[in-house]
Structures are given as C-alpha cells and as structure tokens.
Amino acid sequence: MTAVYAGRRRRRLRLPGFRFLAVAPLLAFVGVFAGYPLVELVRMSFSHLHLANGNFDWSYTGVQNFRDAFHDAVFRHSIRITAVFILITTGVSVALGTALALLVDRARLLAGIAKNVLVWPAVIAPVVVSAIWWFVLNQQFGLLNKILDALGLPTQSWLAYGTSALLSVAFVDVWHWTPIVFLIVYAAIRSIDSSLLEAARVDRASEWQVIRYVVLPMLVPTLALVAGVRIVMGVKVFDEMYLLTNGGPGVATTLVSLYIRTVFFDQVDLGYGASLGLCVLLLVLVIFVAALAARGIARRVAAA
C-alpha cells in the first residue's frame, strides 16, 4: 500500500505553493509596515524635514541630528529618568509579584478569587488605568486624600512635585503590571516538584527556610526572565505618563518615549524626533545583546 502511494505522496509534499502562500502575507506585512518604516526612520534621522503644502520636504543633513541629540540636556535627562523609572518599577514589581505568587500558593481561602482578580489591572487599558489613578491621586476628591483626611493626616498634591510625581507614576506602573510577574512566577512555582518541598519540611525546615533555600533558588531563571520582560516594558511605557503628568512638572517625569513624541509632534522636528527614536532603538538592541551575552557566560560558568 505504502509503496504504491509513495510516489504520489512525495510529489504532494514537495508542492511548494501553499508553503509560500501561507507565510507570504506575514512577510509582506512585516516588510511594508516594519521594514519600510524602519528604512524611512533611518533616512529621516539623517535629514531635516518640513511640511510644505501637506508634503514633506526632505533635506539631507548628515549626522547633525545625532550630534544635537548628544548635546541635548533634556534627552540625556529623559534617558536617566527612564533608567531610574525602570530600576524602580522592575525591582518593585518583581518582588511584589513573586510575593503574591508565594501567597496565592499558600492561601487557603482566597487563592481562587485572587488568581482571577490579580489579572484585572493587566487587561485594563493603560489610558483607563491613568483615569482610575486620577481619581485616586486627585487633590480634591482623590481616594488617597479622602483616606488621609479621615485618618487626620495632611493631604498631598501627589503629582505636583518632581519626586512624588515620579514615584506616583512608578507606583501606577507597578499596580498595572505586577500581575504579569505574578502570572509567570506563579506558573513556575506550580511546576516545582512538590516532593522537594516535602523533603525540606520532613527535615524540619521552617516555611520561610523552604522558600529561601528551596523555592527561590529554583525560581532564579524565571525571575531573570521576568525582570527582562519588565525592563522591555519599562522602555515602552508611554500612555500612563502621558496622561497622568504629561512629563511634568517641568521635565521631572519626561521619559524618553514622551520626549520623542514631544519633539516629533509638538516641536514638529520630524528628523530630530526620528534620530532620537533610532538612538533609543539602538540602545535597546545593545542592552538586549549584552543581556544575551551575559546569559551565555552565566550558563557556561554554571556548566563548568
């Protein structure tokens, strides 16, 4: 039977058409809406553009935009602020998400509900998250000030001062995205072989010692992964800050993404905005490659 059909079957399998047709839309899409815009981005970042009668007028300016970027105090400030923002939000959300995962794993009554509710912040639109926190942080009728007032404590205008504004938006980001950390770490905890925990408990380890010496060491690869995910999300962050502080007061919360938008759309400096975008893109790429290299080295050290 097989022998009879073998010839026909092979011919069928070699038929090239569908294999290409199926992947072609994907490649076309990526080419037109990622590849081509990327080329345009690079071309723009070496040019000065201005709008004339609804058309873009391009003039080649060489590396001038990049030279400007290097001397741009606000751009450098925004990169520093972004780095601080990422450090805070990544650290806090990874710690909190891990704690929540350990708690849900141990809770008796609330585990089921918590697993569901803990997902909510991550599915709500970032814009709505900012609206929600407007209602919490507002000086007049904000929930936070109402609570402080009820407790007899002085109320605050949370978004009016540089440091408290940055910490507030960092807190909102943590509220929004800790669920992602929770979900990933919780899945990792559930996949730990329970006989290991059993053995530790038989050896009279306290619950804290079980977590510290058995669970956490096994979570290290997951935590590294999730920290990487959160760092990438931190560079991408835009919506919440745009609405909550719009970069202010002054430039206290002007993350790079906000600054690029301001340059491109408010100052209508299209070429310069593009060059800032390209700088950030390259920076992300360099950090990503460095992280991959570090992981490779860590693995080799671990294997040796």
Partner: protein, 280 residues
Amino acid sequence: MTRALRLRRGAPNAADLALLVALAVIVLPIAWMTLAAFRQPRDLIEPGVPITFTFSNFHDLFAAGSTFTHQALNSLEIVVGTTVLCTVIGSLGGYSLSQMSWRRSAVALVVSVIGLIQLAPPITLVPGEYVTLSQFGLLGTVRGLILLNTMFVLPIATLLMKVYFDGLPVELRESGLVDGASEFMVFRRIMLPLAAPGLAVVTIFTAILAWNEFLFGLTMSKGASSAPLTVWIATVVQSYSIQWTDLAAAGVISSVPIILIAVFANRFVVSGLTAGAVKQ
C-alpha cells in the same frame, strides 16, 4: 500530599490576610472610579463620600451624534479589523513555519526578526510609521490604525500559533494529504480546528490589545472621525474643564467588557498574557 493539604479549604491563614490587602489595593481604585461614574458631577467634590446614584453620565456619553459614540465605534472597527488580520495572517504564517518543513535556519531567521519587532518600543518607530502611512494616504484613517495595530500584534499572534502547531504531530498533515486533500483543506479542516485553543487565545489577546491601544490612535488619527475610544478619554483628561463623571463613565465602559472577559475566559487571557510577555 502537600498540594492536597494546600488546596484544602478551611480557616483563613496569614497568607489569606496578606492577599486580602493586595486585593483591596487592586479593587478599591477600580471601585472608586466606578462609583464616580454613577454620581452627579457636583457630588464628586463634596467632602466625605456622598451616596447618590444616576445614569445621567452614561446618557451624556451616548447622546445623539456624540464624539464618544463615534470613537467607541472606531475602536470596535479597529478591534474587528485587527483581530481578523492577526488571526488569519498569524495562523497561516505560524502553520507554514511550524509544519511545512522549512529549513531550520529560515524559520529561526523569521522568528528572530519578528521577535525583534516585539522588542522595539513603539514610539521609536512612530516617526517612520507616520511618514509611511502618509505616503500611502492612510494617515488619519481607521484603516491605517487597523494596519498599525496589526503590525504590532502580528508577531506575537504568529509565534503563539506556531507554538500551538508545533504541538501537533506531522503525521496528521501527511495522512490528510494521502487521503487526497489539498494543502489548504488539510490546514483548514484538520490542523486549524486542532489548534482552536491557540486561536482562541490569539483572538482574545489581540482584541484586548487593539481595544486598549492608545499611542497610534493618538499620533496617527485626525479628530473624532478616526480616533479610538482611548483618545477620547485622553482628550477629556487634557481639556481645561474636566468632566470628571463623564470620564469615569467612559472608563467603566472601556474596562467592564474586558474585565468580564478576564473573569469568564480567565484561562485564555492568562495564557495570552504570559505567552505575550515571554515570547518577545
């Protein structure tokens, strides 16, 4: 043994108490805005927490010819368009890359290119996309926004579908071909139904992302004719006299549908969120 003990219901323990605090921190802010959505504007600034109840804010939003209604419909259009494009192109592409015996290096190349797109902060590409859309005459159109949303969700959609198809045995396709079905029929009638859970995850995940998207909506739309719901909310926040209760009502309308999805299709949402985060 421990698992069984852990799952046993009984008196709440210390972990339950700590979780209660965490749940309060999540639910209270959402509840506070929801409460504001059902209040009269003047009650909002009263001291204390006045208990009043009205639907008038929602009436305002959906008043005839309102920009809110228009932009909510734009958002729906964007969700439908993006979801259709991502599921069709993503499942075809994922299937081809997974099952159709491409050279391993070719698959790795495509996967890493679309993985890198995931890595790029959208704002860095906005200048390039802006010029591109303008050249195609798609700037300030809902169609343009559908295409941009698709661009940024398609990589995850494709990778997710590829992972699902990777889990299906190659023999299935071969036996289908032996029985005389065409490649497309094998894909459509045998393989795609078997990957239905993956398709559900991709559909829900894409729909949520497209519904929530703001940056492209903000930068590539021109006025209420093409802007999505999220931009309406932003416009309200940034206007000089903020209609707070309208804002709250809009927030409720935007978030209630997806919270319901998160409650009742929890499994799909969770796999979408975790895979979406890790697969970049």
